[in-house]
């Protein structure tokens, strides 16, 4: 039986959720509310010539650029200030916000929005990575359409390629993915005592504050963000709430009434941000004995029309593009390409899945080409403690992948099945190895986020944790309390932890990047340790912990050199499939996973995250096709964008290996994204084995398999 902090306890939020008592943002009535409906562009690129708004009934308003308060900026402050709150001239993507109609009746708002007539001068647009690189229709950004263009060099790739006996090439592609959090986007904005209060289903309350303040020309303290219970995020509520909140906040300053914007599903699927499509070109140099001596990688992502967080996503992609392998000589170029699509943004994994899928498929293709067992090839190149990373940093921890492989090979029956299923027999096995760096990339935690956590013992003796990370289903309300309770030696249910309110809590950073437990949880532990000494002193007591970089970690953001991450989570996912010879339908027969995340703070929560992440990744790898047609998403309802149901995949076997990390709470590292990183690649490789064809893109749909079988 598991003991200590890993032992599972009932989640603190589960009772109210199961009872149907929990109120999400759309469940809370607001007196005197005006609903908001965004009015959007219906072309992808060009110029607005005229906006003709119908006459509005009493109590309805149309808010647009001209309504931004004096001195306010028509730019949303994310990493840069580039995405406009409203456009009244330049159009960069289909569905860009022109204005917001507000009023007391939702149906009337829809009719009014439909009656707004906009005339445009349309321009040729680039939608794909290739079109963006070719600057189709003229550059959208700078003179080359590149939001970021990075180079990395490890060792001496030039000489490796000059010595190469042969070079194996590959182009691996991944598509858009929609988050499909079950609760659509929603916010309510109101004025309270001269301040702007924003209630949002969101991951990052302080991001919203930072985004909204400049457009209202108000100080940060004038904007208060309160997280509403959040029905799933997966990255989709990292930056996108900034977009809705900015428009609604401008409206509130004009109409002086609360404004609520709740998306319906179709609106959410058509106009919210998606995962970055990617294209990664590998060239691998082999010597005369088929040993890998060098690699050349050209990674491109479709960033969409504004920068948003694409450079950072690209960084994580390229830093993950050697995955768990120590490749001796590497040169890499990574580009974030501007196109006239909705800006791509955060999604669980944040670039790492694209890098890892490409690396895993490419390695398996090399093994096929040279007639070697793919797992043996991969295992011969695996990193270990002290290995040099693609950014010339160091793996500081013991890597347990070999022992994890022994274990998962045993439980999945890998060796027996792999030898029994001849390639092309219709049965296949795939194994993906992966890692995920915990926390912000590079020096982000130290230089940008600077997380702080406060803890108080109130007059009445009750302990409260104050921080800004949100519960969105991943269990933080429970795990943060458990960490504090373990230190303070009390019942986790006796500790208070409210949904964050930027007016009350210190900024412990956003709920992203698998950082909440590893980085913020550590601060909870440290703050609790300090408070423990004062717990029995009379009156209110307080403690605070601030982030410091673990010793021995170095990073240079200018050159992108050093330790991109202080520590990694590690995983292996094995998948067994059967492909129908006629229909090419795939049945997944088994899914086995093993993960090393340092230490589990709660095993039930961890296994829940594992299964959820793996199934979401299997959707990405097999079902979730999202295509662009003339700049619009072709699949935009739950009927045509297919996510996994109970019928699609078998249960997920999930095992954990401990390897406590000295700078995480009780040894814990990041978890939430790691568990997404490998399953799509594993699925693709299992299908590849079953049909004996080279799979080089996901999702691996029956149509694609058919195409592979027909054309090779």
């Amino acid at each position: 039986m598991t003991t200590g902090i890993s032992r599972s306890v009932p989640r603190v939020d589960a009772y109210d959720k199961a009872a149907g008592i929990t109120r999400y943002i759309a469940d809370i009535p607001v007196a005197g509310v005006c609903y908001g409906k965004l009015v959007r562009t219906s072309i992808s690129r060009g110029t607005i010539l005229d906006i003709d708004v119908p006459e509005l009934p009493e109590g309805f308003w149309f808010i647009s650029e001209g309504d931004i308060p004096e001195g306010g900026r028509n730019r949303i402050h994310m990493i840069k200030e580039d995405w406009p709150v409203f456009t009244n001239s330049e159009v960069r993507f289909y569905g860009q916000t022109i204005g917001i109609l507000v009023g007391p009746d939702r149906e009337q708002l829809i009719a009014l929005a439909d009656a707004v007539r906009v005339t445009y001068r349309e321009q040729e647009a680039a939608f794909t990575i290739e079109e963006g690189l070719a600057c189709r229709g003229g550059a959208l950004h700078g003179d080359d359409n590149l939001f970021a263009d990075y180079c990395l060099v490890k060792g001496d790739p030039e000489s490796a390629f000059s010595r190469a006996h042969r070079v194996i090439e590959d182009v691996i592609e991944t598509g858009f993915q929609e988050h499909v959090y079950m609760e659509p986007q929603g916010i309510t904005v109101e004025e309270q005592d001269g301040k702007i209060v924003i209630h949002a289903s969101c991951q990052c309350p302080f991001y919203i504050r930072k985004a909204v303040a400049p457009s209202l020309n108000r100080s940060l303290d004038d904007i208060i963000v309160r997280q509403a219970v959040t029905g799933g995020g997966f990255g989709g509520k990292e930056h996108f709430p900034d977009i809705i909140a900015s428009a609604a906040a401008v409206a509130v300053t004009k109409v002086h009434r609360p404004v609520q914007v709740i998306f319906d599903r179709e609106e959410d699927m058509c106009y919210s941000t998606k995962r970055h499509p990617s294209q990664v070109i590998f060239k691998t140099a082999l010597d005369s004995e088929n040993r890998i001596i060098g690699m050349d990688i050209d990674a491109r992502i479709n960033a969409g029309a504004y920068e948003s967080c694409s450079p950072v996503v690209l960084q994580r992609l390229i830093f993950s593009s050697n995955s768990v392998y120590d490749i001796p000589n590497v040169q890499l170029r990574g580009r974030a390409v501007a196109t006239s699509t909705i800006p791509s943004d955060a999604f669980r994994g944040f670039g790492a899945p694209q890098g890892i899928i490409a690396a895993e498929l490419h390695m398996s293709h090399i093994a096929r080409e040279i007639g070697m067992d793919e797992v043996e090839l991969k295992r011969s190149l695996m990193v270990s403690k002290g290995s040099r990373t693609i950014t010339n940093g160091t793996i500081h921890e013991t890597v347990k992948l070999h022992e994890m492989w022994q274990r998962i090979a045993e439980v999945s029956g890998w060796h027996e099945k792999k030898s029994r299923y001849a390639p092309g027999s219709g049965r296949g096995m795939g194994a993906a190895f992966y890692l995920h760096g915990g926390g912000f990339t590079g020096s982000g935690e130290q230089d940008i986020i600077k997380a702080r956590v406060r803890m108080v013992k109130r007059d009445d003796g009750i302990v409260e944790i104050l921080l800004s990370n949100v519960e969105m289903g991943q269990g933080l309300q429970t795990t943060f309390r458990k960490i504090a309770a373990q230190v303070l030696d009390c019942d986790y249910r006796d500790i208070l932890l409210a949904d964050p309110d930027t007016d009350r809590v210190p900024d412990s950073g956003p709920t992203v990047a698998s950082r909440s437990i590893m980085i913020v949880g550590r601060l909870v532990q440290l703050a609790a340790e300090q408070l423990k000494h004062k717990l029995h002193e009379p009156g209110a007591q307080e403690s605070e912990a601030a982030y410091t970089q673990p010793p021995g970690c170095h990073w240079d953001q200018e050159t992108l050199q050093g330790d991109a991450y202080p520590a990694y989570g590690w995983g292996i996912c094995v998948i067994e499939t059967a492909v129908d010879p006629d229909t090419c339908e795939v049945e997944t027969l088994g899914v086995w996973t093993i993960h090393e995340i340092g230490k589990a703070i709660d095993e039930a929560i961890v296994h829940g995250q594992v299964t959820g992440g793996v199934i979401q990744a299997l959707g990405y790898g097999s079902l979730e096709k999202l295509e662009l047609k003339d700049g619009k998403f072709f699949q935009h309802t739950m009927a045509d964008y297919i996510i996994p149901t109970t019928l699609d995949f078998p249960g997920v076997y999930s095992e954990l290996v401990e390897n406590p990390y000295p700078y995480g709470p009780f040894g814990a590292k990041g978890l939430g994204e790691l568990v997404f990183d490998g399953a799509a690649a594993s699925y693709a490789m299992a299908v590849q084995h079953a049909v004996d064809r080279t799979v080089s893109r996901i999702p691996v749909t029956p149509e694609y398999i058919m195409e592979l079988k027909t054309h090779g």
């Binding site: 009772y15 199961a18 296994h607 199934i615 109970t646």
Partner: protein, 172 residues
Amino acid sequence: MVIHFTCNGKPVTVDVDGDMRVLDVLRDVLDLTGTKEGCGEGECGACTIILNGKTVNSCLLYAGKLQGAVVETIEGLSGDSAGLHPIQESFLEEGAVQCGFCTPGMVLSTKALLDRHPDPSIKEIETALSGNFCRCTGYGKIMKAVVSSAEKLRDSREDGHQSGTGLGVKRG
């Protein structure tokens, strides 16, 4: 249109447009917001209710259909003081609740299934829940929760107990 129906065991009368969605009658008129809107198009199951013993997507149903009907929503399962229903308890115990947005619909689909089939096979459970999407859990713990609640309900029937008696799960 004046509509009389039974909601969670109590007689209810509402005066609404006959073409109002049942989802809106529940949420906006009766303030029963445990029933969620995930898609509004009959795909996701977040709005699942039990109508005359069968699960329906309340976003696709018009108020007129409620005339004389018997409706169960998530709020009716736990009752005012009885604590959670054994199905809800199992969802808690198995860790099947994450963001919680799908949970009311999942619980009601489970109840409708177990009312019909006290001892369902795994395949039957998968089929019964296939209209309820969950993006958080990957369904593993939900499946376990259904299996364990079926066992609990069978045991309590054998013992001659009524369902809905608390099994010690407290509000956290």
